[in-house]
Amino acid sequence: MIVRELELDLDAFEGPFDLLLTLVLKDELDLVELDVAAIVLAFLERLFERDELDLDACGEFLVLISALLELKARGLFPEEAAELAELEPEQAAEELARRLAEYRRMKEAAGWLRERLEVEGDRYFRIGPAPLAPKVEPTLAPHDPARLAAALRLMAVPPPEVSLAHMALRFPPVVQFLERFRSVLKRRSRFDFDQEVGELSRIEQAVAFLALLELRREGEISIEQAAPFAPIRISRSDVEREDSWTLRSA
């Protein structure tokens, strides 16, 4: 299965996956309009139509969809979202889900408004004053000048400072980990993923994992894990050839 040719039929887009990526990269398709979950579902459904697990396709898909998610996440959490940084990862995940649900509701409400417009399109009201309405002499009640001072003071209230604490939520570039792992593999033929990234934040670990998938896709490494949640072991591909055990044969 070739992931780039995966046919998608989404609200905002219809066509192959690679065209979608091109449009996103050229800024011709707004990621906010894009339902990433629908892409994942389309891929999973295609995957389960087949009996065998296509690991190459899964790896490629994970890299591509992660990149999309990363772009979308950056868009969804601009600097204003500083308060998220103070949350525990589980709370942050819950907050993410809540916001996603909130946005979906608003999107549906927008759809409702659009339908309403179509139904109500043939009702015309006058907008603005009547042509021959009586003219009003502008009369104003006395005002307290303190209100003017208060209005100006309110405009001088600085907006909340953008906290730098949420930098942890930012995504380090994948390439940073590609280089890091390549240099580790120059010194050692194998390493243990958890040991290498144990000190890092969750986000960094996730990006580091993406780097692993990318390296494997390029054929530079092989990945080995004895059981779910067991340590992930990484070995250089030239070493892998010496061993008989590879992920592909597993």
């Binding site: 579902l41 979906r104 608003m106 927008a110 009702r123 009201f125 907008i127 009547a130 907006p159």
Partner: protein
């Protein structure tokens, strides 16, 4: 009050209905029965009765002018039969070519209003500046003071024009938020279905 009693004697319901017609034809926004009663210096119950007469006279199909209850009040509009002619007359009604971004922003302001631009940005995930500007220009939203807690950001709310354009008697006619977001459940269900297949 004495005055209304005196007026009732000299002002039969038909006369009051004419006053109501006059008030509605010069008003630039829907008027409540209370507004009409105050302007007509008559009592709200009699105004309601007069509105019944006016509504009978200006009902769809009977006249080119139709009385409608909208945006919490009463207003005259053009009959639906004349919609095409009105479209030719009024070049840019507030509702033409509303972008998806503008509609989403409008939905957020309608449900959460008054709210600020950062509020809209937080939910939509992209800056809402141009959507807000276009809604302001169309008169579908208006400023509603500043949010002192959010560093003096300007807050926005929907206008009576919004209700008129969307044919709502009030914001309470919007669908309940609990009933929206069905897509969220659907995705969850589909994910569960896939997961079950997998373990089967």
């Amino acid at each position: 009050m004495d005055a209304p009693l005196r007026l009732i004697a000299s002002n039969p319901l038909d006369q009051l209905a004419k006053t109501v017609e006059a008030l509605l034809v010069v008003a630039s926004a829907p008027l409540t029965a209370q507004d009409l009663a105050e302007a007509a210096a008559d009592d709200p119950e009699r105004v309601e009765a007069a509105l019944g007469l006016v509504g009978e006279r200006y009902r769809e199909g009977r006249s080119g002018i139709v009385l409608e209850h909208v945006a919490g009040g009463w207003a005259f509009r053009a009959s639906r039969e004349a919609a095409e002619a009105c479209a030719r007359l009024i070049e840019k009604p507030a509702q033409r070519n509303l972008s998806q971004a503008a509609l989403e922003t409008l939905a957020i302001v309608a449900y959460l209003g008054p709210c600020t631009r950062p509020d809209v940005t937080r939910i939509r995930g992209v800056a809402a500046d141009s959507a807000v500007a276009s809604l302001l220009e169309r008169g579908l939203i208006s400023e509603a003071g500043r949010d002192e807690e959010a560093g003096g950001a300007i807050r926005y709310r929907t206008t009576p024009l919004f209700e008129r354009v969307f044919g709502l008697e009030s914001l309470s006619e919007l669908p309940r938020l609990d009933d929206l977001g069905a897509g969220v459940d659907e995705i969850r269900d589909r994910l569960h279905a896939v997961a079950e297949k997998r373990t089967a």
